[in-house]
Symmetry: C2
Subunit: 465 residues, 2 copies
């Protein structure tokens, strides 16, 4: 922020902002006008609400997440699919989840075993997807804060992805907690590593301090990776297995902030769809990124007794998210404006992602590895291990000289004393920047790489992993 | 809330809601329409902002609080004064603070000494009233939460008024803190008692655990009392005196939630106006109660190093209050709509307070003591010590039978092991109830008192203290 003010020509590929031009100004105006046109709807929108949130929005949220898990919401329509295809991205599987209630994730190889294990969410309609389990918050960030406060005491352990969402790491630190990183494969959580970690904690007697596994399960911040349903199911089984030794529940805290920003690949069910195992699932999502970050409303689903603890904390934080924004979101959802806006947004991000991917291919040295995103806002690029990308590195400084900013990968790794923090990666966001800035920013970053990394050749394609 | 749903005829004099019919529906519609009519103003309102808050709102807030301390904002105009007089309340001093920059509080007897000590806020324009010290929050409640989290560790001590705002007590408890109550006189904080408490803590070695004194300084929740400027000044001197023994700063956390809801009496300066002593003042206020609780925006002023600590916590909570509401409030303030709305609101609350006072006089037994409010939303009533008012008391149950709800006084007292919690008081709010409900509610409550307190006579006037 400070840098951006000091250098007006700086292109930021760092901020996780959403696309500025896409913000639903007209939709928000229409709906707020509707609400405030009559005192009957206007007065409740300007009055205190309840701690847990507006009942209509809680119900709509419960229904929406259940529909997502049933594959009934997110498929792109035919028109959008064609538009996405024109962007040059892979679109296999797009939309097909609509007809496949039991679709299970990215890979077809796991389909049979997961179909066997999976419970239909319809069967738990009164359970995990009940509006009674929903709490509305000031973005999903506040929810993460409250859950972590409710579950953890100073000195406790949490497991996070390695790398993970860096604001969550700040939160972990400010609560005086310790974090351990679980490795990521290209298809999400590395279960073998998770098991080794749990086993090590059991042997060292530290398992009793472990309270939760935090997982950004869709188009992860920062790597863009998605952890499939099968993996979530197995992670829950692993956590459950180690609960006896821990002496208390170990929760899976599933953060789905980017779930609705999918523009390729198949829909993946959330951990709420794991039947009885969902008793250990805490799910959070947000309306900020798919609608408007400036009208920030998030939500979470909680099993007892965490629900009651979080409700009490919410009462102390702010006794309920502001009514006006909740009423706005409830009408935006109920009127279909949310889904229409989201369809446009996904096409827009598909286009931006494609532009970024093309620019990476064109400008990055071939030694840099990266993965084509299927949703979310990020491309994660990995230089050879000998190249530093951190805030004090030659590359970071060269990038600034070339007026481009990225998030150094190092910031996304927990302070985990059991391994050295990798320092050769970067997070590039196509969320906030314009198409022209994405193009120019990547060209500048390529130049910066060649500046401080003279042996590198310029090629027409990077190395896709 | 639950009770209200179960008993639709229940009259709640308990909730601290603001007046429903007064909510500024038209004003909010006009301003939101203005913001969202053009993408130039609409897009930033729907995008992420910064952690500390919108720069315009921070500046307007800094200017407003300084103007309040200069006596330039709150005086009622002549028309409003006449309207308030017609309500039958005392209006001495109303509006005169406009011409008296050095006015000091409620009592003229203290004027000379305080004029001597007091520094003009103008002299600290770059200091305590600087926009750089302001942080915008989700209501003042979030600010209280963050400051307490920043300053206190588990097991620490805070001083609160006895009684105080009960939501703050919940917050104290949830942070694992201990509270000690400072007695209240009819004109606010009992300084002699504060000194005895500090001295006792020094002798017991507990002073090193004391971090702050929390003071609801204007028309306090629950008693409606105001602590004068002179008393705040002297409280700061006392705290400073004991800092050496404590080994760290002891802050005055001044909560001015009801400051702008003044309808009688003179304006009182805040503790920010104490010159160099203001380095130990943390000030919080809100736009919720004077404008719209459903578009909740609060704020606080912080000295370093607390500022930096709170900024970090705010980043972890929600990385900044939602832009749309901040932009709304900034325009409401800048356009003069805020002050026009506030002038109407004060007349409205004056009328409601007068109706409540008349009803108390008419319906309560003479043994009940109470004080006429000069602002805020509450009348605090005190039964003889032999009469219980708590949730399990005969009176509370009788009140429910008569379909009226109040806040038992006991809930407003900290868990302070050095004294027994008083259990013979009640908080009555004229904020949310209609005039008819205020009248009916007090009549019912009077009946409930006679039901379970048969010796009491019905008189035409209660006992004003």
């Amino acid at each position: 922020m400070k840098l951006a003010l000091e250098r007006p020509r700086l292109i930021s590929l760092a901020a996780g902002f959403t696309d500025h031009a896409s913000l639903p100004v007209r939709e928000a105006q229409e709906v707020l006008d509707e609400i405030l046109a009559r005192s009957q709807s206007g007065q409740p929108a300007l009055q205190y609400g309840s701690t847990l949130g507006d009942p209509t929005l809680r119900r709509l949220t419960a229904e929406r997440v259940q529909a997502l898990d049933l594959g009934l919401v997110l498929p792109l329509d035919r028109r959008s699919k064609l538009q996405v295809e024109r962007c040059g991205l892979a679109v296999e599987g797009l939309g097909s989840s609509c007809n496949r209630q039991l679709s299970t994730g990215n890979g077809s190889s796991t389909a049979s075993s997961s179909e066997r294990k999976q419970e239909s969410p319809r069967r738990c309609a009164g359970g995990v997807y009940s509006p009674e389990r929903v709490i509305i918050t000031a973005g999903s960030q506040q929810f993460l804060y409250m859950v972590t406060e409710a579950l953890c005491d100073r000195g406790d352990l949490v497991l996070v992805e390695d790398p993970t969402y860096f604001v969550y790491l700040g939160l972990v630190q400010s609560h005086g907690l310790r974090a351990r990183g679980v490795r990521l494969d290209s298809d999400g959580l590395d279960l073998a590593h998770l098991e080794r970690l749990l086993d090590g904690l059991k042997r060292s007697g530290e398992l009793r301090r472990l309270k939760l596994l935090y997982l950004v399960s869709y188009f992860q911040n920062p790597t863009g990776r998605t952890t499939g349903f099968e993996k979530k199911f197995r992670a829950l089984e692993l956590l459950r297995h180690y609960e006896r030794a821990a002496g208390h529940p170990i929760y899976l805290l599933e953060d789905t902030a980017y779930r609705e920003l999918r523009f390729a690949g198949e829909g993946v069910k959330s951990a709420l769809a794991t039947g009885p195992r969902a008793e250990r699932v805490i799910y959070t999502g947000t309306y900020s990124k798919p609608f408007a970050t400036g009208a920030r409303v998030g939500f979470g689903f909680l099993p007892e007794p965490v629900f009651t603890a979080v409700e009490r904390i919410k009462g102390n934080h702010d006794f309920g998210t502001t009514s006006l924004l909740q009423h706005l979101l409830a009408r935006v959802l109920a009127s279909g404006r949310f889904d229409r806006h989201l369809a446009d947004l996904r096409v827009r991000y598909a286009r931006k992602a494609a532009v970024m991917v093309r620019a990476v291919r064109e400008h990055f040295p071939p030694e840099v590895e990266w993965q084509e995103p299927q949703g979310g806002l990020y491309v994660w690029a990995r230089a050879p291990r000998s190249v530093r990308t951190g805030e004090r590195s030659a590359l970071f400084r060269a990038a600034l000289r070339h007026d481009v900013l990225y998030v150094p990968g190092q910031l996304c790794y927990a302070d985990d004393p059991t391994r050295r923090k990798p320092d050769h990666e970067m997070r590039l966001s196509f969320g906030g920047a314009t198409l022209a800035d994405v193009r120019a920013g990547l060209a500048h970053l390529g130049e910066a790489m060649r500046d401080c990394w003279p042996g590198s050749s310029r090629r027409s394609a990077g190395s896709e992993t």
